[in-house]
Amino acid sequence: MDNKQIPEQITYANILFFGAWIGIFIMILTYVVYATGLITPHVDIMLIIQNWDKGVDEYMHITNSPRGWEWLTLLDKSDYLNFVGLVLIALLTIVCYLFLMVGYKKKKDWIYFFICLFEIIVLAFAASGILDAGGH
């Protein structure tokens, strides 16, 4: 039985390992910046606390928060700086799948190659923010 790991499985593990820990480290670092007030946030913390019991649409409207990828324009604000670590860990799987796809292509394992391809499409579709287009 062919049970050997493809080398890309180890690459996958390595990317996950370093990516997840770098992401968590960035999260802690940016949160300290946010909590200590070293950089001004886009939304005042008290305004968040007063409105976090409201539904997301109402909250977004009151706090004038950006949707989708618009937060990238607010990277100079401490609250959105926090998104860097969060986004990093959410992007890791897509990167890992790219490596897996290469491995399956080398092995000419086309079923798994296409499974990886479709998964990347699904994840990229979810990440794109297209599905939130009607939410404004």
Binding site: A13, Y34, V56, D79, I94, V122, A126, L131
Partner: protein, 326 residues
């Protein structure tokens, strides 16, 4: 310090953690943090409270053998003042971070089977997008609908945990056509017996269909879906328990990613809530792993089942506006 002393300290620490956890739970149940005068408290109390709560939750989750997400959403949703949209967003990030941190070790040891995970992950992750959109739509319509559905699901999960009897090494006499086509099989070294265990799956089609529902539920409620993955992989598809548990954990890193993106793009991930939760739960999990060999995990598992039953009923109570449970 002798081993006995270390064990005693660990027992004391785990007992303290449990006492703290249930104290918070009882406090929340009796006083209900939800209508608390949030603006009267210094802002930093909230992330601190959340960090400590999630730290204890992380310990308890590991000891009880359940994922952090399945405890996080009902408990934080029931006892903290956050809207369910933000709890689900943070819950998915919590489950995702936990799965990503566990993934590398499981992949390197070949315990998480990529051949088993990839097909089911594709179905579950696509369906978790549908679940996330459905959950957000229902919550926009009326958040109480989500609370009642969440409560019912959590109640069901507790029952499942109570009665599900996983099989260490299920017997699969004949692999089905889909399993053969996808070449889903493998082997691993059972460290206890030093035996090489070969495995393959059956009922693959039914298993794949089940992952449609699992994906929808995971996305809809922001729960990690280990509670459902393991029984389907183990009991239905016939994968050995170790492979099922490891593959399930790895699977969460994929399933939760797609749902997390939907919540993230919608604005449901508030760093003020999400980051202390992720960090607290991860640190708690590390402590939980250290305590795993020295505490009576079975007893804790029963307590967690009782907590889930209570949290499920509380969510139903909250959703229906009955108010019996505070």
């Amino acid at each position: 310090m002798s081993k006995t002393h270390i064990i005693k300290w660990c027992h004391a620490l785990s007992l303290f953690a449990l006492v703290l956890f249930f104290h918070a739970l009882v406090m929340a149940a009796t006083q209900d943090l939800s209508p608390a005068p949030t603006s009267d408290w210094p802002w930093w109390v909230w992330p601190l409270l959340l960090f400590v709560f999630c730290f204890v939750l992380g310990i308890v989750a590991v000891l009880a053998g359940v994922g952090g997400g399945v405890l996080y959403v009902p408990l934080v949703g029931g006892f903290f003042p956050f809207h369910i949209d933000f709890v689900r967003g943070a819950g998915l990030m919590v489950a995702l971070a936990g799965a990503l941190a566990a993934g590398p070790g499981l992949l390197r040891r070949n315990l998480a089977s990529i051949r088993l995970a990839l097909p089911v992950a594709l179905i579950a992750s696509a369906c978790s997008i549908v679940g996330a959109l459905l959950g957000l739509y229902l919550s926009k319509l009326n958040p109480n609908i989500v609370q009642v559905c969440l409560g019912t699901t959590i109640f069901g999960i507790a029952i499942l945990l109570l009665f599900s009897k996983n099989t260490e090494k299920p017997v699969v006499t004949k692999q089905d056509a889909i399993g053969l086509a996808l070449n889903i099989h493998g082997c691993y070294l059972d460290e206890a017996t030093q035996e090489i265990v070969h495995w393959k799956t059956h009922h693959t089609l039914l298993g794949l269909v089940m992952f449609i529902f699992i994906g929808v539920l995971a996305g809809m409620f922001g729960l990690g879906a280990g509670w459902a993955n393991v029984p389907v992989l183990n009991l239905l598809m016939g994968a050995p328990l170790k492979i099922s548990v490891a593959t399930s954990k790895f699977l969460l890193s994929i399933t939760d990613t797609s749902a997390a993106w939907i919540y993230f793009n919608k604005g449901c991930v508030i760093p003020l809530i999400a980051i202390p939760s992720i960090v607290g739960l991860m640190f708690g999990s590390f402590v939980g792993v250290k305590l795993l060999s020295i505490v009576k995990a079975k007893f804790i598992r029963y307590i967690v089942i009782a907590v889930l039953l209570f949290a499920g009923l509380k969510a139903i109570d909250k959703g229906l506006g009955i108010g019996i449970l505070g």
